[in-house]
Symmetry: C2
Subunit: 621 residues, 2 copies
């Protein structure tokens, strides 16, 4: 099958010959190619450039017949920033840009003058104008706004611009200026992961995503996973240390975002945060100890709205900081935010499975009537941490691997193109699948004694796969994937699969009942579902039942930042999910051990993988 490489960004799609370019784009989550004519080839708005051709062609009319590189026009380039996961979800789930109700907004109003007949106060006339389009919440303000109000209202014949925050209980005017100012209101969406933190700067006037930055959570210095962080934070000083570390991480991202857009961090007027329960506790300086002591309750799931100043975020000190509501100790706001990126079923026949796979794996299964949520400890492998050459899905990360039948030739797709610097989650999944498919590793993930390939090398007493030699990498060192890395990866995928199996069993369902599987996580920009099924991480279901959402926690935070309706919906979702504790379930360990093989001890659960393996063996023999 030919490969289509979309630039900039180097996202690769492998598609059957004859696929339209626009279909290939959709397959890899580029959803905003403009198709106002419905793909009839009439409007000409989906024009793209293809390397080696002189004139742009129409993505809706041109079929892929061989490997090509497609260059998207400027507008679509924005779609390819790392972290731009909101392009992976159904655009219908995003708030309507024409009717945003963000956490913080700038309203340009025309306050009518008072008259002898209608001698309403300046404040009353202002509030009436606000009410026209901003709902019925009580309106309040700080004193400096009142002090400037009479002059501001009169300076430009009633034209004023007010900066307004919307909490769950009130609209608060934080600033008033005369005239209609052009500066847009800015907001911040943050996903605080155990391993990776991602932040987006958002234009709150039109919902435009202005920039995304991600970085490792500096708390990694004090433990790779949630449990080790909780243990570390057992006294006040250490809790404060962890709080400072994650704040340093987020404030660093804010600084980068501000710098890239030439704004001051203080111009950011509101923030929406999503993170797992422990991350939110550590960020807020709440002692997390009770999260891991029976009966396992956190201080808070529905965090009250706070101010940037008290949280320590270096944006406008008075900015409202809202957190996505969590469900329980190990199913946090990152999950409820992520569920905003899904079409929840409206009937009982449709059962969905939502999996968010980061350092922890969190799973929600449900239908229109019920939702059950649980968690399993996955480990940070998919986010590049704990893997020798692992890295986040950033420029230079290998995100796709193809190994030739000779087990020697290797093709790597690198984010941003050029030489690789490391490998990210989707790259690891792809690599493990290829190693297994090409019989480089056995079903337990160990390299065969005699793989017949010069790529197998010794590393610290064990074997490793040399994905790229030093001459091909950015730092001049071999890009090695060790057997320990593969074990790490297999433990992770086993934990996830075992958790899903057990929840299904508990609610009396089988895999077949699942009509939709949503996959979220920080693997990279694009996880090939077939790869994940092949290694037994995802169930062997028809591929059209899967949707890859990318970092849905971040996308959910972005959506919630922009829309009151979605903030309310998220709270309803959090309240509806029943939390179950797998760790106390005696069947879990059994289920986990069975999943430690590739794809699984029980090959019957993976019929298409078994079929591929069988035909492969036939070819070889």
């Amino acid at each position: 099958m030919p490969l289509v490489c979309f630039q900039p960004g180097g996202i690769v799609a492998e598609v059957p010959e004859g696929t339209l370019i626009r279909e290939a784009a959709q397959l890899v989550g580029i959803l905003d190619l403009e198709l106002p004519c419905g793909g009839e080839g009439v409007c000409g708005l989906c024009k793209v450039e293809v390397d080696g051709q002189n004139t742009p062609i129409l993505a809706c009319q041109t079929k892929v017949t061989s490997d090509i590189v497609v260059r998207l026009p400027d507008r679509q380039q924005g779609a390819l920033f790392v972290g731009d996961s909101h392009l992976l979800i159904d655009p219908g789930l995003l708030p309507d840009a024409g009717h945003l109700t963000p956490l913080y907004r700038r309203l340009r109003l025309n306050v009518p003058p008072a008259s002898v007949e209608e001698h309403y106060s300046d404040w009353t006339r202002l509030v009436r104008e606000m009410r026209r389009s901003n709902g019925a919440l009580p309106v309040t303000c700080d004193l400096p706004v009142l002090r400037r109000l009479s002059a501001s209202v009169r300076a430009a014949n009633g034209k004023i611009t007010v900066s307004v925050e919307e909490s769950v209980s009130e609209l608060r005017i934080r600033d008033v200026q005369s005239g209609h100012t052009s500066a847009h209101a800015l907001g911040l969406a943050v996903d605080i992961g155990t391993t990776t933190v991602a932040a987006q700067l958002v234009d709150l006037d039109d919902g435009a995503l202005l920039a995304t930055q991600t970085s490792y959570n500096l708390q990694l210095r004090r433990g790779a996973d949630i449990i080790s962080r909780i243990d570390y934070a057992r006294d006040g000083e250490r809790l404060e240390e962890l709080r400072s570390l994650v704040l340093e991480t987020i404030n660093g991202l804010i600084g980068q975002l501000a710098k890239s857009l030439l704004i001051e961090p203080q111009d950011i007027g509101g923030a929406f945060l999503a993170g797992n329960t422990t991350m939110i506790h550590l960020l807020l300086g709440l002692p997390p100890g009770y999260i891991r002591e029976a009966p396992y309750v956190p201080t808070v799931n529905f965090v009250p709205e706070l101010r940037a100043q008290e949280v320590g975020l270096k944006i406008d000190p008075q900015a409202l900081v809202a957190c996505a509501p969590g469900v329980g100790s190990y199913v946090g706001g990152d999950i409820t935010a992520g569920l905003l990126c899904t079409d929840l079923p409206t009937n009982n026949q449709d059962v969905f499975l939502f999996m968010d796979i980061g350092t922890n794996g969190e799973i929600v299964i449900g239908n229109a009537d019920w939702m059950v949520g649980c968690a399993c400890s996955a480990g940070p492998a998919f986010e590049g941490s704990g893997i020798k050459c692992g890295m986040r899905a950033a420029e230079g990360a290998v995100e796709r691997v193809a190994i030739g039948d000779d087990r020697e030739s290797v093709k790597c797709s690198v984010i941003g193109g050029g030489k690789p610097a490391g490998i990210c989650g989707s790259g690891l999944i792809s690599l493990l699948g290829e190693l297994f498919r090409q019989d480089v590793v056995d079903r337990s993930g160990r390299f065969f004694e005699s793989p017949g390939s010069g790529r197998i090398v010794q590393y610290e007493g064990r074997r490793a796969f040399r994905l790229a030699g030093g001459e091909q990498t950015r730092d001049g060192k071999d890009l090695l994937i060790t057997e320990a890395d593969l074990e790490n990866l297999i433990r992770t995928k086993a934990a996830i699969y075992a958790a899903c199996s057990l929840v299904l069993e508990n609610v009396g369902l089988t895999w077949d009942s699942i009509t939709r599987v949503y996959i979220a996580g920080g693997f990279g920009r694009y996880i090939r579902i077939a790869d994940a099924v092949f290694i037994g991480m995802l169930p062997d279901l028809p591929l059209d039942r899967f949707r890859y959402l990318g970092n849905s926690s971040l996308t959910g935070a972005y959506i919630a930042l922009l829309s009151r309706e979605h903030r309310q919906r998220m709270a309803e979702i959090a309240a509806r999910i029943t939390y179950v504790d797998l760790s106390s379930n005696p069947g879990y360990m059994d289920s986990y051990i069975k999943a430690l093989f590739l794809p699984h001890t029980d090959l019957e659960q993976f019929p298409t993988v078994a079929e591929t393996l069988k035909s492969r063996r036939r070819e070889i023999s």
Copy 2:
């Protein structure tokens, strides 16, 4: 008719022979004589002492047959503090002490432990307990509360005490402590008058009034009335000066209140303020200029709730500060607060008249369907300012005068007993009535050439009445009431009567339609209605239609501090009143000039006064 003098305080009631002592007490507004047996003489709880008798007697059984001095037991003594106006209103209008919903409260809760089955977070379990008795408002808190929550909940088996403020939009937990603390929450009620400021310290757990303090508004240095203050505040520096002066006044009262009860001002957790529109603007530093420029609109009538810190009140910096909502530029929150002290009519036949007479006179007339409000400039005479020997209604103030038929013998009732230090509003009204009744002054308030009394003396080229000689006063100087004082007083009463007449005319009613007249103001603790009718300040209606409310602005602030329902009712009242501007009414000056006589140019409007005068003349001739 015999006189009953209640001590301590020296409140005098003139009652028909045979009146029960308890009826006399009710007449002058002492409403809390305990009568659990309904006045049957059974319970013995209404025992009082009568000077000259050896044993206490029952107030409900003893008739007044001659002048007596009644000494109230300790509990009733509290009722006689200056400013204790809430004892003058129908007790049924006060919030139920068992179900208070104050602006700030202390809740002693038992938070149940979490269990494996019910693993709600600490916050959720706390909020559920709060909800049982505190309504459905969203609950929020500051971050330090969350940080201490998990430890506080566990330290005393779920027993915690939370300090909670209730704004119009949310309940905010400001503090959490483990165990059930005994310290009560404290609040502040303030009436900010143009001349006088009064503050009360209130126990928010049981509604008890702990102490009251009043003082002149230090802004008096910069103008006696609202208009001169607005003019003075025309630039930012002077506005800031006026703001500082009223803050200094209020903070001084807070300091005295705190000292008298041995508490720290920072222990006061919430404040409710009532004041006229200009006073509130000056306190908050809002430029007041537009109040007196057409079309006469203030910056704000419904002031958003603020924090003590931003306002500058020296109580808990985070304390919520709420202001009674105003109606317009010259009908402020003092009036809506005052209306909380009245039984507003529930049908259209009952028309009420509410008059608040301070430095400004404000009037509201209405029935169940409509309310009209307006203002007239009265001047500070009733509050003792602008009067040579005037003083606030405090210890040492003459509050009642009787002049003998010889025009020489004078009896003064002095607040707190002893020698007089000056004269307050009710004393002035009483004095003017007596001077007029005894033909010491003519109908324009001028002393007759030959009054035949040694009490008429010369003072600065004009005549004056020597109420007390230097040997009888505290400072050893004559207590003089000058002709200029009397003119001042007559202008004031004329402005009030003229305003009422005009509003009645505008709504097509006559005086007879008024079924209830509420009189509020800073005259003193007790204004004798008959005196005020005699000088033409109040209409000549049957005396049983009048109710004297005292400082109803302060009482209303006290009520609102304690009760959500009353805060809401006050806002509804403010929204319902239609504001009319008398100053632009061409009939006002005409009406005013007619009222500059004693009791009025048109004696037909005062039939009982005319009758008294006629019979008096008959006696003399």
